[in-house]
């Protein structure tokens, strides 16, 4: 199968995706950036990107269906669940927050991991869910990331992680901080066996998530306009007592500052990722590609 074949057979994907979603034509969303109203059906057929290039946040399901081969994803480690081992309660007990988040997202925690294919090339993937407690990283997120990395170490297929996270999950105290080291440590091992890791940073990727696995891609890609930072803009404004310039800590800013390889429109993501994993992976045999 040639490279061109891969790309041409993609055209039908979106309409199929749209059908599957089965959205009635009269529902609409407001774009947070240009404030225009957009029909959900139009939005879905445009990769949930507004004409002004605002990229709406996606659920893991939406993202996987947009990017990977139809039906190719098989999730693993669905049974790992968070434990409120500190009996933490802020304005609400952690255990209640967990229950609500599970109900809302239908996921056990803020990341989904598994294997999929991309133009028939097998990949290990992780997709974070900002809808689950702000995509915060506690023990379960850290463990699942470590596990998908370990799968990549064993099966030698590339790793792609889509981040969308406010950072460490404070409700798990210092244990959540340690997930930064745990995930980064696993990536060091991946690096030592020369398996490529592509980090795709989506809005928002901040705090402990950006300061660990999100920034450690062999290639770092971001969706346009994503907020990517260590300290959030509000904290910085308090520190320097000044307004930050427009576009500060957004993808395009980080690209200019040398932190990202590319800013990629969601429409082009599937093809760029395919090309990159095909080119970078030294473990790809001719059989895998042809």
């Amino acid at each position: 199968m040639s490279i061109l074949d891969w790309f041409t057979k993609d055209d039908a994907r979106n309409s199929r995706y749209e059908e599957r979603l089965n959205i009635p034509g009269d529902l609409w969303a407001q774009c947070p950036q240009c404030k225009e109203a957009i029909y959900l059906k139009t939005l879905a057929s445009n990769f949930r990107v507004c004409d002004c290039h605002y990229h709406f946040r996606l659920s893991p399901e939406e993202r996987i269906q947009m990017i990977f081969d139809d039906g190719s994803f098989s999730e693993i480690d669905t049974t790992l669940e968070a434990v409120d081992f500190l009996k933490f309660a802020d304005t609400e007990p952690y255990s209640d927050r967990l229950k609500k988040a599970k109900k809302k997202t239908k996921h056990a925690d803020a990341i989904v991991i598994g294997m999929a294919t991309l133009h028939q090339l097998p990949v290990n993937i992780g997709v974070m869910d900002f809808g689950f407690m702000g995509g915060s990283m506690g023990s379960v997120v850290g463990e699942k990331i470590a596990r998908i990395i370990e799968h990549a170490i064993h099966n030698k297929f590339p790793l792609i992680i889509f981040t969308s996270s406010g950072g460490a999950r404070m409700q798990e105290g210092i244990m959540s901080l340690m997930q930064m080291a745990k995930t980064s440590a696993a990536l060091q091992q991946l690096s030592e066996v020369s398996v490529p890791y592509i980090s795709v940073l989506c809005d928002p990727t901040t705090g402990g998530t950006s300061a660990s696995f999100a920034m450690l891609g062999d290639v770092n890609i971001a969706e346009p306009g994503a907020l990517i930072s260590f300290a959030g803009p509000r904290v910085i404004e308090q520190t320097i007592r000044q307004k930050l310039p427009k576009g500060f800590q957004r993808s395009e800013f980080l690209l200019e500052k040398g932190m990202l390889d590319r800013v990629v429109h969601r429409r082009d993501m599937r093809n760029i990722l395919t090309t990159l994993i095909r080119l970078l992976n030294p473990h790809t045999t001719k059989k895998d590609v042809v």
Partner: protein, 338 residues
């Protein structure tokens, strides 16, 4: 010495004792029995106060301006300490310092946060809050140590990585992340001592170590209690409460299985006797380095990886158990199709 508010009663008694002593000296009166009595009361009070410190009070000790700092400890531990500077890229960040010296029988690389003691130095050292170049300097020195087979000792004492405009522009997230990853690849023993404040990612950025030791009144936290209170409780005044909930004291961090060992401080805290503190640290480091140096380079690296790999508390509903030490393989039974 700055008195912390909960130490006020002790300092009041101490003042009274000093007054009595002066009086005795100037008037030739014999006040020894009174002095002895008050001193005994002061000792009891001290013991009581320090035996029941709240996390909020412990933080105050951890942040005490006179606590021993990295450069002071480096010079107390090594008679031949030579500071080395620079990230070879942008700037020398004075909020992280490092250098080489002889510690017992080991040639070591010492790296740590440096807050500064007087106002001018505090400003110059940005109150111990590093910019990305601080982490990059630390990594440069760690790689040098790795190359020359020198064990690494890091001293952790920072409110956190600096949350400023330039720090973000120059890649604070990237710099910390890179350290977390690269420290895992080091083949020499790395021992960290949290000597004061272990503030979040800014602390962890030099603490991916084979052993994590904590001074008795040091703290280690994912976020400052103040930050936590204002974000989660939307009420900055609830910092004391947040400090309790976050489990940040040395004992808590040991109980959670993260820190390996608590190093006792002199009564009242490390700032009362740097010499004693440095001796405690020297003994603990010698002990840990002896054990780690017995391992091969690969085993040292594997030991560090296993330590961090094991961190996490969660349950697997498929196997109905809360696990703190998961196996590396995921169970096949837990697959599902989307």
């Amino acid at each position: 010495m700055k008195a912390l508010d909960f130490e006020k009663p002790i300092y009041d008694l101490q003042e009274k004792i000093d007054e009595l002593r002066q009086l005795a000296a100037s008037t030739d009166m014999d006040l020894q029995s009174d002095i002895d009595a008050i001193e005994a009361r002061a000792d009891m009070l001290k013991a009581q106060i320090y035996a029941s410190l709240t996390p909020g009070q412990i933080i105050q000790i951890a942040r005490h301006p006179n606590r021993p700092n990295t450069l002071a400890l480096a010079n107390l531990l090594c008679s031949d300490f030579v500071e080395l500077k620079g990230d070879r890229c942008f700037r020398d960040d004075p909020s992280i310092v490092g250098g080489v010296g002889t510690l017992g029988q080991y040639r070591v690389m010492i790296i740590g946060h440096q807050k500064g003691s007087d106002t001018k130095e505090k400003i110059r050292r940005n109150f111990g809050m590093p910019h990305p170049e601080g982490y990059r300097k630390a990594l440069r020195l760690m790689k040098m140590a790795d190359k020359f087979g020198m064990p690494i000792v890091t001293f952790v004492d920072t409110p956190g990585a600096y949350p400023g405009k330039e720090a973000e522009e120059r890649g604070q997230a990237e710099a910390i992340a890179k350290n977390l990853k690269e420290m895992t690849g080091l083949c020499v023993p790395v021992v960290s001592v949290v000597i004061g404040e272990g503030g979040s990612g800014g602390a962890l950025g030099i603490a991916v170590s084979n052993r994590i030791l904590m001074l008795e009144y040091a703290v280690y936290s994912v976020i400052s209690p103040e930050g936590c209170a204002s974000i989660l409780f939307r009420d900055a005044s609830r910092a004391e409460y947040a400090a309790e909930k976050l489990k940040i004291t040395a004992q808590d961090v040991v109980d959670l299985g993260i820190a390996d060992r608590i190093l006792p401080e002199p009564l009242g805290g490390a700032h009362h006797d740097w010499q004693v503190v440095s001796e405690t640290i020297a003994a603990a480091l010698a002990d840990e380095l002896d054990r780690l140096s017995a391992l091969s380079r690969e085993a040292v690296k594997a030991d560090r990886y296993q330590k961090f790999r094991s961190f996490g508390r969660y349950k697997d509903t498929a196997i109905q158990a809360v696990s703190a030490l998961p196996s590396a393989k995921s169970s096949k039974s837990s697959k599902k199709k989307l």
